[in-house]
């Protein structure tokens, strides 16, 4: 496949969630991304491309690579039916690995880092916001674009054996690195936010601690962010009246 064709698919895959629906989830989005490859395809191949799949949008690049390779080959109805099953089975690993690495670590880690820096900068935050935001967007989208391209090539290479990527040697190292970076991101948010109140005013420090503990308790009790925030505001008022009574 030419670099132009590959980049065209990857670019169109940015709209993978455009047709997200309950019946076929991202399936029609896959068809949208692969459409330049399927201009002359028959009905069976088009319906196979649009069949059910639901994975992480970035990790889906690997599935797109594999699918584009498989759809180029000669296929009969039986083979295309098994392709639909393969797509369905791929949803769980694609979603689980992508969500755990990108949605749960990489993305929030960058956002938390920028939030912490803006808190530390205080009055200078407005002047630095644009530089910090642009750097964050470049690192995030640039990193993910590189990964999309790499994963697409692996997909083309592995085709039906794509699930073998889950055993990639780099994955445990990546998880370990993200664990350390996540820890540093969370600690920097805690340090930056606590330093704004601790040592300055007792009431504000207590209100900060109350919010922190209520959110932890809320997570333990599985209540929504709305409920946790409501109880935080209630505790903030209670502490204020306690101090001024």
């Amino acid at each position: 496949m030419s670099a132009t064709a590959k980049n065209n698919i990857l670019f169109r895959s940015l709209a993978l969630q455009l047709f997200l629906n309950y019946k076929t989830m991202q399936g029609p989005g896959y068809l949208f991304a692969l459409r330049p490859e399927l201009r002359d395809a028959d009905e069976a191949k088009i319906r196979a491309a649009a069949s059910f799949i639901n994975g992480h949008p970035v990790f889906s690049s690997a599935a797109l690579g594999a699918l584009s390779g498989m759809l180029r080959e000669e296929s009969d109805d039986v083979r295309l039916e098994s392709l639909k099953d393969w797509k369905r089975q791929l949803s769980t690993p694609l979603g689980a690995i992508g969500d755990s690495l990108i949605w749960e670590r990489f993305k929030p880690m960058l956002l938390a880092g920028v939030a912490a820096l803006l808190l530390v900068l205080g009055d200078q935050a407005q002047a630095w916001w644009l530089k910090l935001s642009l750097s964050m967007i470049v690192v995030y989208t640039g990193g993910l674009w590189w990964f999309r391209s790499w994963a697409f090539d692996r997909g083309v290479e592995l085709k039906g054996q794509l699930t073998g990527l889950a055993a990639h040697a780099g994955l445990p190292r990546l998880r370990k690195a993200l664990r350390v970076l996540g820890l540093l991101g969370a600690a920097s948010v805690l340090a930056a936010s606590a330093s704004r109140f601790a040592g300055h005013e007792l009431l504000a420090s207590l209100q900060f601690a109350a919010g922190f503990l209520i959110m932890l308790a809320g997570a333990k009790l599985r209540v929504s962010t709305l409920t946790a925030a409501f109880f935080t505001i209630l505790s903030v008022f209670s502490l204020y009246f306690l101090f001024h009574s």
């Binding site: 969630q17 047709f19 997200l20 629906n21 949208f32 938390a112 935001s133 340090a191 704004r196 922190f212």
Partner: protein
Amino acid sequence: MWWAALAGTVVYLDTSVIGQTLIGQPIVACVAYGFWVDRPELGLFFGVLFELLWLANLQIGAAKFSEGSLGAIIATATAARVAPSAATGDPSWMVMLLCVGLGLVFAHLGRELAPLVRRMMNRVAASYVDACVRHDQSAARGWTLTALGVHVAAGALFTLAGVVAGHFMLRLYFGEFYAAGPGESVVGSTDALCSGVWPGLLGAGAAAAMLQLTARRDWIWVMLVGAAGAWLLI
């Protein structure tokens, strides 16, 4: 109000539909909106607060999720319609508190937005696939634009509903002339009480970051490193 709807549309498209870069995140979108309406201090306040609060509330799989980014834009746009306090020159804490509450409620209501759009998309997606099967290029393009239109309408109308609700909520509290900013008596009597919302919710946000970014076994390390960092910063 129309700028807010436009910002809400961009946020909705970026967070749920196209690209999923970070421009729809509160820390980017709210501050950009704040600069656009010449109130960057509001953008930073709501951007940082809502970003941290919703770090632990991500859009995972096909599950319902809170529209934290839309809630943040609604809160910022609503607060920006109220002039800074004539007494202090800063936004009144009562306005900030009311807008935080509004943003939180609308973020929670937004949980129903994705299921609604996905149900509507069942038919649109099926029609798009049928058009592709028929090799009907113009119909396929038409259904693609329809899908985009559904998302644009969802983001714009939801944000508009939030800002309109905020308009009436603040008007109810401050009277018809709320856009002139709360008077000195309101600021004097409520600022000290309501300003606690900042440390309180920032604490909740710090906990949300810890919950999202680390496993329970690492919490002790986060607290130790965080405490050491805070001591250094103080």
